[in-house]
């Protein structure tokens, strides 16, 4: 196989389930995990005579995502019906947007080991989710849970501009990060609150025409999206190589063996008969409304990343870890207002704070200390009153146990305040030197590495309270004089 002669072309359709309290066109709760068929009104049930009503929050969320991606926001939003029959679609049609998606254009920036580029967004439109059919819960019947029916979704369609599973993964990671920063979706692929379909085709390098695309569905993690893409690329190349025609079809990913299989062919594809939804008047999104949302937008990962690297002079690596998670980034951002030692702040967050969170399986929301407490630790270290190891290994754990007590009080009470007093230091140094007279001579004879031994002794005698920097300076002087 000459797989290196081929290139793959990938576009992603991401369904983003919105964290609104109520459904897209009805007032029943959109909560996940309720008892089956409990969040259902006559509208959700599609009872005769019922009418939809647009949830204004879903419009707001769509505009937020659009602004975050630099999209154009559509002024006159028409809704459309997409008609098809399915057991978990009580109305027999889905209310969606067809000709006037609420957002068009815009980009998602991705960065991998090999690329650093913008992926263009074709469109983002509002629609409603279907219910859930379950075929494996009962030996005789299929069961339907309509709790999810009518939950608002945004469908975000990218241009076919990705060329590898790695890029697709980076794109999804960015989108997930963004929706979490915007608080519009919990971004959970495993639970299906974010879902991704991949359109994949291959062509010979240099061929200006796109190959026949295959749509792959049912991948419930970013990892599985990547596995499905890798499998599909190889399958399509193999078909090309063996002279077989690739059919336009929809395939499903089988996570157990990492392969894809045919779900339906194009011939069997539905004619959805889209037409304007006559039960909903077009929703006008005014410029003033867009500006209001813009003014209330939270800081976004890209902006924070830029701030951390440019203004705070942090490394790409540090900034990357800090912005991965919105709450962490916000915690750091708050901390950065309380200290100017940004590097130390980053080290605290990426070090002791994260370790503690990992050990306890908690998110930063549940972290007992406020940014001010970490800022205090940093300033105590900078003032030479604590050294990092005492601060991180002794004071910090105590603070976590008693968050209401300040670092300085804990350190003082435990006699951990670092001695800067040169008389006390001097005493410890003299004691240490006196302990190893032979080593003093060796040191003086040029074996300067022995300073470590004396430092260790000073630390031992001082029970770690000696400021290492001052101590080593004073120790050197004392040894030279000895």
């Amino acid at each position: 196989m000459h797989s290196n002669q081929y290139e793959s072309v990938i576009g992603l359709e991401v369904h983003i389930q919105l964290l609104t309290k109520s459904k897209a066109y009805a007032s029943d709760p959109a909560t996940f995990g309720s008892h089956p068929n409990s969040n259902i009104s006559v509208i959700t049930l599609g009872h005769p005579g019922t009418l939809p009503k647009v949830n204004k929050r879903s419009i707001e969320f769509a505009v937020k995502l659009g602004l975050a991606c630099g999209c154009n926001i559509t002024r006159e939003n028409q809704f459309a019906r997409k008609n098809y029959f399915y057991a978990d679609l009580p109305k027999g049609y889905q209310i969606t947007q067809d000709k006037t998606p609420i957002c068009t254009g815009g980009t998602i920036h991705i960065k991998t080991n090999s690329v650093d580029k913008d992926i263009n967004i074709t469109r983002i439109h509002l629609e409603e989710d279907a219910g859930k059919s379950m075929h494996d819960q009962d030996p005789y019947d299929s069961l339907i849970d309509l709790n999810r029916a009518g939950v608002p979704l945004l469908e975000m369609v990218s241009e076919p501009e990705m060329t590898s599973a790695e890029e697709a993964g980076a794109y999804l990671t960015e989108v997930r990060k963004l929706v979490r920063y915007l608080d519009i979706c919990d971004g959970n692929l495993e639970e299906g609150s974010m879902r991704c379909d991949a359109n994949i085709s291959v062509r010979l390098k240099g061929d200006p025409n796109l190959g026949t695309k295959v749509e792959v569905k049912n991948m419930n993690s970013i990892r599985n999206v990547q596995r499905a893409i890798d499998f599909e690329i190889q399958r399509q190349i193999q078909m090309c190589e063996t002279g077989q025609r690739i059919d336009q079809e929809t395939r499903s990913f089988d996570a157990v063996n990492g392969s894809t299989f045919t779900l339906r062919s194009k011939e069997k594809a539905n004619d959805y008969r889209y037409f304007p939804e006559p039960d909903i008047c077009p929703v006008i999104v005014e410029q003033s409304y867009i500006e209001k949302i813009r003014s209330e937008m939270p800081a976004l990962p890209n902006e924070l990343h830029k701030r951390f690297t440019v203004d705070f002079q942090l490394s790409e690596y540090d900034a990357g870890i800090l912005t991965e998670n919105k709450q962490i980034a916000l915690f750091f951002n708050a901390l950065s207002n309380l200290t100017s030692n940004y590097k130390a702040a980053a080290n605290w967050i990426n070090g002791p704070v994260k370790s503690w969170l990992n050990e306890n399986g908690l998110e930063i929301d549940s972290f007992p200390l406020k940014p001010a407490a970490i800022a205090e630790l940093i300033s105590l270290i900078d003032a030479g009153q604590l050294n990092f190891s005492i601060a991180s290994q002794r004071v910090f754990p105590e603070m976590l146990k008693t968050p209401e007590v300040s670092a300085i009080d804990i350190a003082t009470a435990n006699n951990w305040i670092q001695a800067n007093d040169s008389n006390e230091l001097q005493g410890w140094i003299e004691e240490a030197i006196a302990k190893y007279p032979g080593k003093v001579d060796e040191y003086k004879a040029g074996k300067t590495g022995l300073i470590g031994l004396f430092m260790g002794e000073v630390m031992k005698i001082s029970k770690g309270k000696a400021d290492p920097k001052t101590s080593s300076q004073l120790l050197k002087e004392a040894l030279d004089k000895a």
């Binding site: 006559v42 019922t50 009418l51 647009v54 006559p278 039960d279």
Partner: protein, 473 residues
């Protein structure tokens, strides 16, 4: 029997009757004239309870606006705890778990809801022959049709089975049977009455409206059922006026009529003569009545059928045998559940319109049919609105003829569709229109004349209709 709410109220005030007594009278009338097949179900006990409560409220001195009115509702309106079927087998046994806004507002003003009325299945038809529960018969001759789709609603009023009814009008379904049965039927401006709880035929055309003996009764019912409702986002958001208080119309008005409509070959010559005579009477009374060219008559029916069937094909998708209503016993899997339930559950005309609507929306045909019909709709709306900027009303016949024999047109859908030739324009344009009884044809049957008013000018239209009713016919 009392012909209006005012008459009824004064009879009650004088102690001549009570609402309970009236309700019992109507219940007896319905039983005696059950062969008309106007009612699909009588809500006997609920109606009597409402009547007793309404009598109480009157005695306590706080009667609602419709205190004394016994009213029937077309079988497309949902009423909590009551069956509703759209006269279709597909909703066999279905009971609504909520109440339509219009029905609730009637109840809140003390109306007695006496039963649900037969109609064409899913309001599709012009003769009431498309009901799964048999045709409604004309009250003057059982071999003749009452018109449709609100045939039961028209006959119930005309035959004195109740004082008034609610119908729905998608292309003439209130006005055409009102004309054929000799009563008054009002289709309000689109967006005046909430469609919440009205089983949809074509959402952008459907309006609920009153049918009664008088313009005054139509006005008071409209006053009660009209006005914004949070459930229906296609409504006009302004509060609606007190129509019943605004029925005075004075001075000369400017009226248009269309040459092509009067000279249409399909129009009964006697009706034509009546309309022309009415025009002369109006002129003689000082009104300006002018003949205008309106060369679009040939387009209204095709545009109407393309658009309404498109919407209907989607609106009726929910009747799938899965969630409620009729499910075929022969179904073995999901697909056969759909196919058999819908094949067995829907009648012929409904299936014809679902097929037609599916066709006009399908890829490859959408632009040729649906898009083009939408353009025609916009053009008709613009032209009609332009005319209504210069004239207060457009006057036209309600129907091309009087009633016709059962089975007379059912073999020829096009002939049947032409029954609505004068009524669909108001629905295509979203305008208010009213049919008031004009007179008796030499064949012994009634027919109406129609006024079309400007958008949201229902009040002006009702006021002038009252003048027509009282002074000209």
């Amino acid at each position: 029997m009392y012909k209006s709410l005012a008459e009824t109220r004064s009879a009650i005030e004088s102690g001549e009757t009570t609402i309970e007594g009236l309700t019992r009278y109507y219940l007896q009338q319905i039983a005696d004239k059950s062969s008309l097949n106007a009612f699909l179900e009588v809500f006997q006990q609920d109606a009597l309870n409402q009547a007793i409560a309404a009598d109480e409220k009157r005695k306590l001195g706080n009667p609602g606006k419709l205190n004394g009115m016994v009213i029937g509702i077309k079988d497309v309106l949902c009423y909590k705890g009551h069956k509703v079927s759209s006269s279709s087998r597909i909703l066999e046994g279905f009971e609504s778990i909520y109440t339509a806004t219009a029905v609730q507002r009637l109840i809140d003003e003390d109306a007695v809801i006496i039963g649900r009325l037969n109609c064409d299945e899913f309001a599709m038809g012009s003769s009431n022959e498309n009901s799964a529960y048999g045709p409604v018969h004309h009250h003057l001759d059982p071999n003749m049709v009452p018109g449709g789709s609100s045939g039961g609603s028209a006959v119930a009023v005309a035959a004195g089975l109740c004082l008034a009814t609610l119908g729905t009008d998608t292309g003439g379904s209130i006005r055409q049977p009102a004309s054929l049965c000799g009563i008054t039927g009002l289709k309000p401006t689109y967006g005046t009455v909430s469609r919440w709880g009205c089983i949809a035929y074509a959402s952008s055309f459907d309006q609920i409206g009153p049918m009664a003996n008088t313009v005054e009764d139509c006005a008071i019912i409209l006053e009660v059922i009209a006005g914004p409702d949070e459930h229906d986002s296609t409504m006009i958001q302004k509060p609606s006026p007190a129509y019943s208080q605004l029925l005075k119309s004075e001075g000369p008005v400017k009226i248009a009529y269309f040459k092509q409509y009067i000279e249409s070959e399909g129009l009964d010559t006697e009706i034509k003569a009546y309309v022309l005579q009415l025009i002369e009477k109006l002129r003689a009374a000082g009104h300006t009545v002018e003949e205008l060219e309106f060369p679009y008559l040939d387009y209204v029916i095709p545009a109407y059928y393309v658009l309404t069937t498109a919407e209907a094909s989607s609106n009726l998708s929910r009747f799938d045998g899965i969630h409620y209503g009729y499910r075929s016993k022969n179904a073995t899997d999901l697909e056969s559940t759909y196919k058999l339930s819908r094949t067995e559950g829907f009648g012929k005309e409904v299936k014809r319109r679902i097929m037609l609507g599916t066709f006009v929306l399908s890829s490859g045909y959408y632009d040729a049919y649906y898009s083009r019909a939408q353009k025609v709709r916009r053009m008709l709306r613009d032209h009609t609105n332009n005319i209504l900027n210069s004239y207060s009303f457009i006057l036209m016949p309600s129907t091309p003829g009087t009633t016709f024999p059962l089975g007379g047109k059912s073999s020829d859908p096009i002939q049947m569709y032409l029954e609505d030739i004068y009524t669909v324009q108001a629905n295509l344009c979203g305008l208010p229109a009213i049919s008031i009884p004009m007179g008796q044809h030499s064949n012994g049957f009634p027919f109406g004349v129609q006024l079309v008013g400007g958008a949201s000018k229902d009040s002006d239209m009702l006021a002038f209709a009252a003048r027509l009713q009282n002074d000209f016919v």
